[in-house]
């Protein structure tokens, strides 16, 4: 026995001696609460870590900057007076690439989610227990591991190397996925890394990591950002960035991992302030602060009837909206955003005026655009959506229209049994319109029309039932990242973001059932990244993305059923109904997409649910592309016969608006392209729009057995581009 114990103890010792880690691991603890600071410090000391405490985030940051190698791990509180914990987290991630653990007494889902999306490697709930701290060293190890793996793979094509895969996936994922996906990806990373850790525990010695850690100083990061901007975010591959940066000693892997983080970071940014100047005027975003008063729920019909918001109102609203600092959203929050209905109050006709008959019940939400034209239908109101489960598009009665306007993330309170909540935010969400919806049950429709959104990020999370979410963000200065996640049922999301400067990242992840995603993003300079992921059932994602300068990359992935993908989306499954409205501008998207679409359509045989999407894309010609995409009204009919109609309406900019609506009737019909050369056409006649709108309404109301969305095609099935008058004109 004694021999045994001797052996055991000596074995332990030998294990410990050569590799003392995690003993002595250097932890920086940041918390403004002195009591908690003392307690956690004591616990860490008892774990045999080296602890440095700091009660101010700013001080912590300077400590970190001064001594880059001084710490292995950072633990930080979320709520601090001088700097938000998440901000610290971001900065640390970008500059120092150190693992950061967040702590908080606030354990709400959205807070934890925020941590995840900002790159925290863990989240501790206060009061922190000793057991939780004992294993935190794993985060240090894991990170070093992943880093070394990247190095090993330098220059090589990705292989089956797990780490590589993980990295690749994350790179890809991070660009296209929303927060939800990020968490998924993060989990995957975690799992993968863990396994690797287990296997190689003996060899781990963090202190002798192969690669010297790169410190991303402010200057270096700036060089990086310059390079990325130069290349264009979608073209920014590590290799090219590296070349452009031309920093000796910097490896591709360093850049790759930094790029990944950067993408994550961008996604969360609320870039309201970053409207491209060109767009500003036309973009909603530029404005001001019109704060949409909170409107109660209005009957959709009434709303529709009431008309649109007057331009002034809209402008005012926009101003208000814009004036608000962007909120960082990225996570679905349980806090429901305040829905405000500006338009309702106003009852004025939107500048659009025009004929766009938006009175259709379906569309709700008037887009408020600085320019005005917001089809009443813009809102992707989903009234139809509300009819989940046999939805009837008619939105009548249940539709609630609420304009959602949010300077900050707003969540729509889930209504239990409410058929439809239509929210329209006519106004531009100044910063990010982050809508987070959480629906526990029942259908919830959220319409967000934000004309200007520096970032329209909507996160939806639906526990079940249907949650249609429509976001119309007219202008997205920055990126519009919308992510939707539905646990089940129908999920309709329309994202329409016109993104001028940046990219629209839309990520949709559907747990099952049908999900409809419309993403109409017009991206002028950059590209919209759309990705949708559907667990099952049909997912219709139509992405209308027009990228003027750049291209759109959209990808949808669905495990089964239909996934209509529009432009740039890869159709993975046989069932795919692609509807997209794309206005091809300079990019020659059309032809290929058309073809693709048609091909897809043809291939869709199992497509039980025809999805017709009318997407209206408005693009303004000229330098400033203010696009408004109308997201198509998509009605997804769930295989089970439920469909959700998601009309999406884009904000139409006054100037040139190209409103393209592609009605999609069943298979094969849909695509209407309006392509007008460089000049985006305002050709899409408003008139044209009108019809679709009408159609949309109708279609949305269509509750056919198969949830067919009939979109009368404005352009006809052939997707002929109709040249019409400029939207602006017509709207005027």
């Amino acid at each position: 026995m004694s021999a045994g114990s001797n052996y055991a103890s000596s074995k332990l010792e030998s294990d410990r001696v050569p590799d003392k880690f995690p003993v002595g691991m250097k932890v920086l603890l940041v918390d403004d609460d002195l009591t908690c600071l003392a307690v956690v410090k004591r616990m860490l000391l008892n774990c045999q870590y080296d602890v440095t405490t700091c009660s101010e985030a700013t001080r912590a940051l300077s400590l970190l900057r001064e001594n880059k190698g001084a710490f292995d791990l950072i633990i930080s509180d979320v709520h601090m007076p001088d700097m938000d914990g998440f901000r610290l987290l971001e900065l640390v991630g970008l500059e120092m690439d150190l693992p950061v653990i967040m702590m908080s007494g606030d354990t709400r889902f959205n807070v934890v989610m925020k941590g995840v999306s900002h790159g925290a490697c863990d989240f501790l709930t206060k009061p922190v227990r000793m057991e939780e701290l004992q294993n935190i060293w794993q985060h240090v190890v894991r990170r070093k591991w992943l880093d070394s793996k990247e190095i090993e793979r330098s220059g090589s094509v990705e292989e089956a190397d797990r780490g590589r895969q993980v990295t690749d996936d994350s790179e890809y994922a991070s660009t296209v996925n929303d927060g939800i996906d990020c968490s998924w990806k993060y989990q995957k990373n975690k799992r993968d890394a863990k396994e690797e850790d287990d296997n190689e525990l003996d060899n781990i010695d963090p202190s002798s990591s192969k690669k010297p850690r790169v410190v991303w100083s402010v200057e270096l990061h700036q060089q990086f950002v310059n390079a990325v901007n130069q290349l264009g975010i979608d073209k920014a591959v590590p290799k090219r960035i590296l070349e452009l940066m031309n920093v000796p000693g910097l490896t591709r892997e360093n850049v790759a991992s930094h790029l990944q983080k950067f993408r994550l970071y961008l996604k969360r940014l609320s870039g309201v302030a970053q409207h491209h100047t060109g767009l500003n005027s036309s973009l909603y975003g530029a404005s001001s602060n019109a704060k949409v008063g909170q409107l109660g729920r209005f009957d959709f019909q009434a709303l529709a009837v009431s008309g649109q918001i007057s331009p002034e109102t809209l402008a005012a609203l926009q101003d208000e909206l814009l004036g608000h600092p962007p909120c960082n959203l990225a996570m679905p929050t349980i806090d429901q955003p305040v829905l405000q209905q500006a338009s309702v109050q106003r009852n004025n006709s939107v500048t659009f005026e025009r004929g766009i008959a938006f009175g259709q019940p379906l569309l709700k939400g008037q887009a408020v655009s600085s320019f005005p034209v917001w089809p009443a239908n813009d809102l992707g109101a989903l009234g139809s959506a509300s009819n989940l489960g046999g939805l009837n598009t008619s939105q009548n009665s249940n539709m609630l229209m609420t304009m959602l306007q949010q300077p900050q993330p707003q969540t729509v309170p889930s209504e239990s049994n409410h058929a439809i909540n239509v929210q329209r935010s006519c106004l531009v969400a100044p910063a990010k319109s982050s809508n987070k919806f959480q629906v526990q049950g029942n259908p919830m429709h959220i319409n967000q029309d934000s004309t200007i959104i520096s970032q329209s990020s909507a996160n939806f999370q639906a526990g079940n039932a249907v949650v249609p979410v429509i976001q119309d963000s007219a202008v997205v200065a920055s990126h519009s990242s919308t992510s939707m996640k539905t646990g089940s049922n129908l999920f309709v999301t329309n994202h329409r973001s016109t993104i001028l400067p940046s990219q629209s990242l839309t990520g949709i992840s559907l747990g099952n059932d049908s999900g409809l995603l419309n993403q109409g993003s017009i991206i002028v300079p950059s590209q919209p990244l759309n990705s949708s992921q559907a667990g099952s059932n049909s997912i219709l994602s139509s992405q209308n993305s027009m990228v003027v300068p750049s291209h759109l990359s959209g990808s949808s992935r669905t495990d089964k059923n239909i996934i209509p993908i529009t432009h740039n989306s890869n159709l993975n499954n046989s069932s795919s109904l692609v509807n997209y409205n794309r206005l091809p501008t300079q990019s020659n998207v059309m032809p290929s997409s058309m073809k693709q679409v048609l091909d897809n359509l043809a291939a869709v045989d199992s497509f039980s649910v025809p999805v017709s999407m009318n997407s209206q894309v408005l693009s303004s010609t000229g330098s400033s592309t203010s696009w408004q995409l109308h997201s198509p009204d998509i009605s997804i009919s769930h295989p089970n016969g439920t469909h959700s109609l998601v009309p999406s309406s884009c904000n139409i900019e006054a100037t040139d608006r190209l409103l393209a609506k592609l009605p999609d009737k069943g298979l094969g019909k849909n695509l209407g392209f309006v392509g007008k050369g460089t000049c985006l056409p305002s050709r899409f006649a408003v008139d044209d729009i009108e019809s679709p709108t009408n159609d949309l309404t109708n279609s949305s109301a269509y509750t056919g057995d198969d949830g067919y969305l009939q979109n009368q095609d404005i352009f006809g099935i052939s997707g002929a581009v109709q040249s019409g008058h400029c939207a602006t004109t017509s709207f005027k």
């Binding site: 002195l34 009591t35 307690v39 956690v40 509180d77 709520h79 007494g105 000793m130």
Partner: protein, 165 residues
């Protein structure tokens, strides 16, 4: 040795209590605090953290907590007293207090803070006024007991060091 109870009976409040008696008293006090909900499991963690290398740990944490709490309560009293209450600010302070009370294991105080936050969210001034009083009530109750606890601890430690000398 006499059984403990006898010893306790024999000891006079002002006469020096034996080390064991002191310890006994301390334990009884702490136990009663657990039972009455003044303290929760987190306090146990603190107790466990105190050892030879950090003999004054619990006292240190308690002191930090009390300082913090009193500062916050003062602020809160001012804020809630105003004609127009800035609920966000109030909420921020209550959140702080909630955090520190949870770190030290002050259960009743923590729960009272949670309630308080509810009222803040509802922008309910009266509710806040009441809630503040409840928090204060629990806090001062706790503080008294902490004072006794710390005194006992000090005496115990004095005993120990005396004995070592």
């Amino acid at each position: 040795m006499l059984p403990l109870c006898s010893r306790v009976l024999l000891s006079h409040p002002f006469s020096p209590m034996s080390l064991m008696a002191l310890r006994e008293q301390l334990n009884m006090l702490v136990n009663s605090m657990y039972i009455e909900g003044l303290l929760d499991q987190q306090f146990q963690q603190l107790q466990m953290l105190q050892d030879a290398s950090s003999p004054g740990f619990v006292a240190e944490v308690i002191n930090l907590f009390c300082e913090d709490a009193e500062r916050i309560l003062t602020e809160l009293t001012k804020l809630v007293d105003q004609a127009v209450v800035d609920f966000q600010k109030v909420d921020a302070y209550v959140h702080q207090l909630k955090g520190s009370s949870s770190s030290v294991g002050a259960q009743n105080v923590k729960l009272a803070c949670i309630q308080f936050r509810q009222f803040c969210e509802e922008n309910n001034k009266d509710g806040c006024l009441n809630a503040l009083n409840v928090v204060k009530h629990h806090y001062y109750l706790l503080r008294n007991k902490f004072d006794t606890m710390l005194q006992l601890e000090q005496r115990i430690q004095a005993y120990d060091s005396k004995q070592q000398n």
